[in-house]
Structure formats: C-alpha cells, structure tokens
Assembly symmetry: C2
Homo-oligomer: 282 residues x 2
Amino acid sequence: MKNKTYKIGIDIGGTNMKAVLFDGEKVIKSYKLGTPKDSLDHLLIMLGALIEPLLEKAKKDKMKVSKVGLSVAGCHDFDKKIIACSPNLPFLNGINLGEKLEEKINLPVIMDNDANCFLLAEAKFGAVKKYKNSYGLIVSTGIGGAWFFDEKIYRKGGEPGAMLIDFTDLIILEKAYQKLNQNNSAILATEAYRGDVLAQKAYKEIGSLLGVSLANIVNLIAPEIIVIGGGATNSSDLFFPQIKKSMSEYISNPNSKKTKIVKSKLGEDAGSIGAALLINDK
Amino acid sequence: MKNKTYKIGIDIGGTNMKAVLFDGEKVIKSYKLGTPKDSLDHLLIMLGALIEPLLEKAKKDKMKVSKVGLSVAGCHDFDKKIIACSPNLPFLNGINLGEKLEEKINLPVIMDNDANCFLLAEAKFGAVKKYKNSYGLIVSTGIGGAWFFDEKIYRKGGEPGAMLIDFTDLIILEKAYQKLNQNNSAILATEAYRGDVLAQKAYKEIGSLLGVSLANIVNLIAPEIIVIGGGATNSSDLFFPQIKKSMSEYISNPNSKKTKIVKSKLGEDAGSIGAALLINDK
C-alpha cells in the first residue's frame, strides 16, 4: 500500500552504506557511499551526506519524509536502544546511534540489526512473503539470523553465528564457516567454478555446516521456510544441495523434514528496504 | 482460580503413568500405574483403569469432569493430532491417541508432549510463574524441551535433544548425554555423591554439555529463565554450577548472559498437572 509520506531506509554495512527513498511499495531513489571506519562523528557526517540526495528528491516530489530506518550489523539491546556489540565498527559499541542521528538530521530514527531488516523486507516483499513463519540467515563476512512469525520479527536472541557446533574442539558456527571459506567467499567461489576440487570440497563442507546448523534451528523453532541472504547467495548453487541434504538428515521431526529453503529475492537492497519498513513494524 | 468442574491430567511415562484430579488450583486426588509396553489395546484398558478412581472421587464430590489432558513423550504432529515418533512406546507411532481414548472413556481428550506439559505447569504454578518468556528442559532418559512465551506454549519445534553438538563426529546432544551418564543417572549420581572422581568428572561434562546446548538456545530465542525438570533434577547440585559456567561462556549477547536457570518446583507432578492445564491452554 502506497503511503502518504516517504520513508528513508539506511543499511550500514562493513564496506558500504546504502540508503533508499521508499514510498511504501517501491524504491523511488537510492544512494550509496563507503562506510567511514574511523569515528562516530565521521559516520554521522557521512550519514547526513548519504540521505541528502534523497531528502532533495522528496522535496522535489512535494512529499514529506516521515521517518528514517537504520540497519546496523551486531547485537542490539532493544530495551536500552544501543548497539551492544558491533563486529565492523567498534566505536558504535554502547552507542544509541538512532538518537545521535535524530539530533543531526532532525527526523525520527528507528534502528534494528541487519538480519532483522533483511528478513523483514523478504517477508513483506521478497522470497518468503507468502509464509507466516520464516527464518532468515545472512551468510556474509559473519553469520546472522532473524525469525519472522505472528506478523512480526522476534527481537530477542537471533545469534545463530554463535552456535557451538563442535563441543569437543569448542568451535562456533561463524568461526568454522570463516575457516572453511578462508575469509574470502569471492575467491573461493571463483576457484570452485573453475573446477578446483579443494574449493568445491570446501563449499560442500560449508553446505554441510550450514545444513546441520539450520537443522538445529528447525529442531528448536520449526519455521516453514528459510531464506538465505548475504554475499554467499551469489554462489548458492555451490552449497545449497548439501545444505538441503544435511538439513533433511538432522531434522528430527518427520513433519519438519520438508522445511523449504530459498535464497534472497531482494538481494543487496533487502537491508535498506527492511530498514525503511521498520517504521511500520515497530 | 477454582473451576466449576474438575479436570483429569494424565502423564504417560516410559515406566509409570500418573493421573491427577485437578480443580484448577490444586490436586484433589492422584493415582499411578505401570505403563503397559505391549500394545495400544492394553494401554487403553490401563488408562481406563487409571482414571477410574478419579472419576469415582469426582462423582462423590458431585463434580463434573469436563475434560482429560494427556501428556505423552515424543514428537507430535499437532495438525494431524497424532504422535509422529514415540521413543518409549513404538505402537503409538502415527496414532491419534486422544481420539482412541475419547471413544473409550466418553470424555473430551486433549494431548500434548511431556515437555510442553511440564513447562505449562511450571509456568502457571511452579518455578517460572513470574516470567513471560521461559524455556523448559526435561533431562531424563532422553532430553526434551519446550518454550513458553506470549502467555502460551510455542508448539512447533521443541526438539533440543536432536541438537547436533559435534559437527566432526556427528553427535547429537541426547546421544552425548546418554553416553556420559551411561544410561543410568541414578547409579552415576550415587557414585558421584560417594566421592567417585570419574563419576564427578562425568557430571561436570554433563553440565558443560547442557550448558553449551542451553547457550545455543539462548543465542537463538533468548528466554528470561530456564527451568530444568526430569529425573536429573534430583542430582542437580552435581552439574548446575558447570551449566551456569558454560552458559555464561557461550552466550554471545552480553544482555543474555544473565539468563537465570532454576530447577523444577513441581517435580514428578509437573507432567500430569500440565496435562490437566492443557484444557485451558488450547
């Protein structure tokens, strides 16, 4: 449903920041800048610069921008409205970034983590929009997760990357994944597509790792469908078959074995669109 | 709140079956029989015998029994109302036990799994009654789990025992637990209390195993409090300190590190009381 006002959604990634001007059903204009990694002040200045062209476009269209949504990776403390641990931008730890940005741009700001924004967008407009109970896994530099059910995002927990998947050697999912992809999925994928046997084997192991982790998730909360997002979706054909195989093997309830798994439909726009949707969701 | 009718709650365990006559706030009368392991027909006959003294007591009190609740271990298909996998009584697989019992006793029957009934009782009258978001773990012959939030039991998933906790050696939580306690917690506990160093070490490892598994659960759904039930609670002092240590180590969000952990307050009555409460809950 088209809204009477525009919203702005911003996705602050480890490398780039993307902002969209959103009318409630489609992106009117988008803009992208590199993420400043040195200080909060610099980040706030660049966020101002990022949304400027969008505010101008809104002015030209004679539309009001009612609110700004912010997607930031890391664990959030939703009660205190702070980022409790930021993997990419350590200067954000303990900061109420929403409040800081509000002071700067004089517009209401609402903030959430990247996985929640990604899944919100996919649940409203993307790959899982027909489902009432879906889980979103972002596989990128790290691993993040979100859960949508009862018409909303469940905002506690959501740290699947911290799942301990090797009790003997004390290895958590995210570290195991980073070891397998050698911290560079793009290079590993190129090698695998060229026919490198070791790279293909690594991808099969990544699929197996993600598959058992998702089986653990299904055994606990049983979503109807899982959507995978993040950089890794570009090479999803290298590991999706193994994910499906491992999931089916380790899901215990026969009825959950049919849990669907799909890849992101909105791609790299999911984060900023989801951030724009936060406004209606909270 | 005292109800105008009585309810009956039945807990069908691997060894015994227990039934309570419940007035909505307290147990009026209870009765126990061994669980028949040979056939469905025999089970139905014995269930009839189990509730007979309770029906008589109700009659004597001039009270109507409005419904019967049934707690049965295993994974349930709540849509089809069947038990999809029964670990103790294989003849129940694929059976709508509620319907069969209704035909026999001529009273409405409602069924759920043992972990859901346990947590429902603890959430309404027991150890977690002040909390809005609690997780229940039953540690007995096997390992079962349930989640209470938004005033009700979340009835999908709930199979923490199936959690793969060793990706390399492909070991699931329940099997690892059964290997550590050598399928007999009672003997292992006696040895540990007598000072046997190996038995104490095994209990420490059980605590560590349950602690990381609960950390995985907290990282996904972040309950405020966890309640442990089942036979293992009798020797909880042997492994609770290690559970707490491991949980705190592997919970990733700083705010969730304070997640409380307590033991069952209702003990072996939790299952049958929870079954009696099902009536109001569904």
